[in-house]
Amino acid sequence: MKTLRLLRRRRALLNCAPFSHDQLADRSMRSAVSRADSSDEFVNQRNFDRAVAALVCLVPIPAESAEWFSEQDLVVGSKWTWKKMVWNPAVLAISIAVVVIAGVFVFQLLGRLNDFPGSATARKLLAVAASTRPVMLDPVSTEAGTLSDLFFMKHGLEHYDVPSEFADFRTIGCRVFDDEESRRIAQIWLGEKRMQLFLFPADRNMKTGAVLHFPGWRYIHQEGWVGAVTERSGVCFMAALRGGEKDLEPYITKSKE
């Protein structure tokens, strides 16, 4: 049954076989023609078709219509313009995607520009500051500068010194805890503008273990909080409060003076 169908299809293809070889683009047609190429019947058919086609070529075409088939282009392609190209949906979609990607890239780049060794930890600690309540800390009412001894004596934390800019402020409480990387963090709550101070180990070079220093004060921001960070003797200090840079600046500039 299948063979019969195949034979019928081959016969049908041969009836439609082109008489010029350059049109044998179809595989099934090529196969049918190659099988029948030498048969008398097929040769007769091709000669017949070629003769008819040659005569068809001689059928006169009215002069007015023949003009259309001159060498010149029938239709001049529409002019390419920037405006047209910009409104092309594909170009528009790609442009929007590129702008969004560029925006994200610039945003990331600007964020990275303010990065410094320990900025990642400082950001995490800003989140800690935002979620800390005074009851979570041990109540200590003293000057912030004096807590260095407490950290050293009680917790064995060396160089956890509060910089002179913040040393004179009265404290409400303090605590020492480990972060998720088991680093010892000291947190101090001040009465001054409900400011919080953090002391934590500075980042180190992964290969050499050397402390990654950075000069002066660096600001970081997160969710309405601002932190001013500095590094001394391998320990980072951060003063954090809710607000902007201008709220912290007076304390830093005061020390510079």
Binding site: A12, L13, C16, Q23, F48, R50, V52, I61, V75
Partner: protein, 143 residues
């Protein structure tokens, strides 16, 4: 397709004019060969009101090895009239096939035919044309 140069010219210009209008309105169809399909329908429309040939059995002869020489004696206009007088879809099949511009898949697309139907039209057309040639220019008996 029409066997009448005046009508053919009219259809040709109408088809192109409509195509230009559609292009100007940005409504050109996406599928290939729509222009040829359009032209074909216009040709069929143009001949709808013409006097139709009587529907009777036309003689059919198997294609002769010496048919080429018989065809050479034909006038091109006569052949055009013969093809145009064939009933559709045979007329479309013969016209498109002997134009030698399209392969068979393209003809199937333009004429909206199946392979078996196109094959039948062409085979029948050849046999009928051979019979007509035999009647018009009988082959010289070989000595």
């Amino acid at each position: 397709m029409l066997g009448d140069s005046r009508k053919a010219q009219e259809v040709f210009h109408t088809t192109l004019r409509e195509a230009a209008q559609r292009a100007a309105q940005g409504e050109l169809p996406k599928e290939p060969f729509w222009l040829f399909r359009d032209a074909r329908w216009r040709c069929l429309e143009a001949t709808k009101t013409d006097i139709q040939p009587e529907s009777r059995e036309i003689d059919e002869h198997e294609v002769d090895p010496g048919a080429a020489s018989q065809i050479e004696q034909l006038d091109p206009a006569q052949l055009a009239v013969w093809i145009s007088s064939a009933p559709d879809p045979q007329r479309t099949a013969l016209a498109l096939f002997y134009l030698d511009e399209f392969d068979y898949t393209e003809i199937l697309d333009i004429a909206e035919l199946k392979l078996s139907a196109l094959s039948r039209c062409l085979a029948k057309g050849r046999r009928q044309l051979q019979a007509w040639l035999d009647a018009k220019h009988p082959e010289q008996p070989k000595l």
